[in-house]
Amino acid sequence: MSVGPLVAPSRARLSARLSRTRGWGWWVGAGLVLLPALVPPLALTWQVLTGGIGPGIPLFRLAQLLGGTLGLTVAVTATALALGTATAWITTRTDIPARRLWMVVAALPLVIPSYMAALTVIGATGPGGLLSSWLGIEIGTPYGFLGAWLALSTFLAPMAHLMVTPALRSIDPATEEAATGLGARPLRVFSTVTLPQLRPALVSAGLMVGLYTVSDFGAVSLLRFDTFTRAIYTLHAGQIDRRPAAALSVILMAVALVILLAERKTRSRAGYRTSSAKREHRTIALTAGRRWAALGLLGGYATVALVVPVAVLTYWLARGMAAGNVIGPLWAEMARSIGVSVGAALLAVIAAYPVAMVTTWRRRRLSETVSTTVWAAYSLPHIAVGVAVVAFALRSTRFLYQTLALLLIVYVSMFLAQAMSPIQDSLGRASPDLEEASRGLGKGPLQTLRRVTLPITRSGALAGAALVFISVVKELPATLLLRPNEFETLAIRIWSSTGEGFYTRASAAGLVLLAVSIVPLLVMTHRDLSA
């Protein structure tokens, strides 16, 4: 067994070494990829600066929206991180029965779009709802903060689970075993040895969950909690004058940027690396009581996040079909959803390589800007991206307006961060010695890419592609605005059917959407989680 260097080489030395090993072509690639990502924020800001904000928005209202958005974000991020880390730790380290199965199960709720999560909360807890009638008591729907927090935390925890699991696995077993050998109990090992090493993954996951919450529209809207996104959509959908919505979007973009910059300031730059020789972690034998507690947590979570949504959808479907409602074929919607999501996932991964390379390669101001831009594109509320791109395309690229190509470009820049982050993690965890060794042995940059970089980032790329697929397949507001005419996807079908009260059709589309999303998640968990 060989132990990798625990202390990162000095930054200057690392940069000098890597600039020799990786070519300048990556910078060109990153620049090209970033161009479309720049459009929404710049076009939107330009539009607001030149077009004005229309009828103004009262300051107290702004403060209210800001408070709501930030409060929800902090609460959801903390909850999802705690829950996701718990499920990841239990399923990678302990000896609970059917551990691998639980590992997959804990990731599955990620496929449920936030608007379906919210509908589930309403459908389950409302008067006459599934849960209420089953328990025989009126629970009352937790509208407002509580409901939005519950729905978002529950369905975002898998994001943390998915990012923490590989990190847990890649931690060198030696450190934990040493602590255990010195007599530390599992929880103490976790908090003093494991947790500090998880920090990069936790920061990434927290950032993703937080930004998702800031830009989510579906859950806060249906559960009626006032945030920026809800206000933007409300203004956008209900007003001929789109300037106030654009103005709010610019403010929200600024909020997202502030969060990003704050996170970047506090981020630890120390890296933990493992050697290429990988070894399984020893499982921790839990006492019977603790095992039941762990199983209870996983089982309870699976019930709330998987069984209840499927039950609610099935209940609606059955009720409607019993009343003689026609569902209609969903094949075309399914083909479009799958096609566009696979395309976007593939393109996003390809586009993510240059940005992941240059951002892990040099911690210079320029590479910080690259990374920040990618995250800013991700954090923008999709409704705002839609508005901005529509305006831009009409003015500057009319030939792309309402085309599939434009939709794909927008998906890729919106979700580039999801593809980039796991690849960055893979690159960051791999020792730069590998690339240097390859070049030192006389291999060209392309060969190094094929023989070294791609293999060490494969699991990251797969995780990224799966995340992008799942995001695209359930994406709604930007799709609504940017899709070509007649391009109805499953997500759009669910939304429009729900809005018009056709719950039977919405449920059918919802169940299909779940099935479609579970496939890439299973493929990924098979290759990645249970590697």
Partner: protein, 327 residues
Amino acid sequence: MKRSIVLVGAILAMTACSGGDAEGPLVVYSGRAEELVEPLIEQFEESSGIEVDVRYAGSTDLAATLLQEGESTDADVFFAQDPASLGAVASLMTTLDDEILDLVDSRFADSDGRWVGTSGRIRVFVHNTGTDLPLPQTIDEANNPAWAGQIGIAPTNGSFLAFVSAMILERGEEATLEWLEELAANQPVEFEGNSPIVEATDAGEIQGGLVNHYYLLRLKAEGGGANTENWFIPAGDVGSLVMPAGASIISSTDMPEAANQFVEFLLSEEAQEFFATDTFEYPLIDGIGLGEGTPDLSEIDAPDIDLSQLADVLEDATRLVTEAGLV
């Protein structure tokens, strides 16, 4: 790997085809939901042989989109759920043929002939049958403090905004703002659309709401809505506003013939039957029977409002709704 790329390519190609890139389809912007009008579009395609591409979104959304697209729009027809959205884009519309306009009572068409009503709907006060709260006799009584926290509204929905626009026409801005402020003070529960209001009323989460009449009828057809009834406010004020969904032809259309045929089709017996029996709205041409549970229009004490003017005050309506703190 290669095989998977080919597969992805094939799927993408399939997607592109199903997206409909064929030359010269008639492009319809529909503020009416696909779930409602898709069968109708299919009937038209079948009987006319004209291919139709539909863009579905909210009526106000599409109106704003049309204004943004201006002359460069691909749209040939705008099919919207309220006269205010239609009127907002009047500058982009062509005047309809008299043969079309003559089919419909003139109060359900634009006075300048730029849009024509295709089906009628009534604003109602929907309520849970178990409630013992007093049903409003006027729209002002809908703000009765007894109903505080018990009423659902959809303040961004086109129909609600059209209703507020009508109130501005009837009472002026000041009185309308006053009414909206009273409504806001009564802490209404806000929804994105009408259907959820009816569902919530039926579930007893709220006791009533301001919606259009057909949402409940459709819920009943879906097998729900047993605990809910429509209440037609009898005062002859905007609480029982009758307004049409309607259609118009965009003047930059490159298919004026087909666009004309489409609007004519919406006023054909076939389409009007469909509106009556499938979407529970009011047919606007003579000789069509009403759908189950739809009261005769003559029983409704509707206000006398010039619907052509709704669009002129739509901006004011959205401003007042914001000022009152409802959005």
